[in-house]
């Protein structure tokens, strides 16, 4: 079981740069061919200052540049082998493009036991700001913890 008193706990902020080579690796892995992601000129023609990032890439940036990518699991004493991703939400306030430097600040906003304690849902919300101090996105992940004795 996950300790309910962890609600409100915050974690070490993560700063991540949107690097073109790492982004290209992600695009290639996904077979992404959309011209807006593949060339700076196409991106500028579409009105972006530089190549924009795909909609789920914020999640990756936070994990790639975290000193301890699974900090919230270890801090909450949750075994990595017992977690599944339950839900994910992104709310976008401004575009993110190559060259941006983003800061992710995460905190636990919910811990709920389900199915008589067989599983626990942990919600972590993250506010994302850029190098200009603009609040560019909010994300929320729900992690499902399979508790001991459950499948």
């Amino acid at each position: 079981m996950v300790d309910q008193s962890a609600v409100g706990r915050s974690f070490t902020p993560v700063t991540a740069c949107v690097e073109p080579g790492r982004l290209r690796f992600f695009l290639n892995t996904l077979g992404e061919q959309n011209p807006v992601y593949r060339g700076a000129q196409a991106a500028r023609n579409a009105g972006y200052a530089a190549i924009p990032v795909p909609p789920t890439y914020l999640f990756c940036l936070e994990m790639m540049d975290a000193e301890r990518p699974f900090e919230f699991l270890t801090d909450l004493d949750i075994d990595l082998a017992r977690v599944l991703h339950g839900e994910q939400r992104f709310t976008y306030h401004a575009p993110v493009v190559v060259g941006d430097i983003l800061t992710f600040k995460s905190r636990v906003t919910g811990i709920t036991d389900k199915k008589g304690g067989a599983m626990t849902l942990v919600v972590v919300e993250t506010a994302v700001t850029n190098q200009h101090g603009a609040h560019i996105a909010d994300t929320a992940r729900t992690i499902v913890v399979r508790n001991e004795g459950a499948i």
Partner: protein, 138 residues
């Protein structure tokens, strides 16, 4: 900019539709590196078995990335206001995914015309893996 199908969406219209090649072990290994999600449960069969699973399985966020790709094929990235999914079932190796999005509501927020899309990702057997929604600016 030329007018696209998403400028005047019709309720019920399917504006997002894309299929993807089968998910291989190689895909999972590449996504592990490309995403920064190094959870061994997706790439190390010994770890997956010790955790009670028959084999490795896809990162939920890989499946959501495919859905995001299908979405931005139809809607420019800067017109997406929100994007959310529930991970309904584990996506197994070999899954051939189909992503779809239908217009379910037209709304206005702060003077901006928007549409709500219902999104799904299903495998080749029609099993829903992701169910979610996006709010897009029109």
């Amino acid at each position: 900019m030329s007018e696209t199908a998403t400028d005047r969406p019709v309720l019920g219209e399917r504006i997002v539709h894309k299929t993807f090649p089968p998910i291989t072990r190689h895909t999972l290994a590449l996504y592990c590196g490309a995403s920064g999600d190094h959870n061994p449960i997706h790439v190390d069969i010994d770890f997956a078995r010790a955790a009670g699973f028959p084999d490795v399985f896809s990162h939920g966020m890989l499946v959501m990335a495919y859905l995001g790709q299908a979405l931005t094929d139809a809607v420019a990235p800067d017109r997406i206001r929100s994007f959310s999914t529930r991970f309904a079932a584990i996506t197994q190796l070999g899954a051939r995914l189909t992503c779809e999005g239908h217009v379910i509501e037209r709304i206005e927020h702060g003077g901006e015309r928007r549409a709500r899309l219902a999104l799904t990702t299903k495998d080749e057997n029609g099993e829903t893996k992701l169910a979610g929604e996006a709010i897009i600016a029109l």
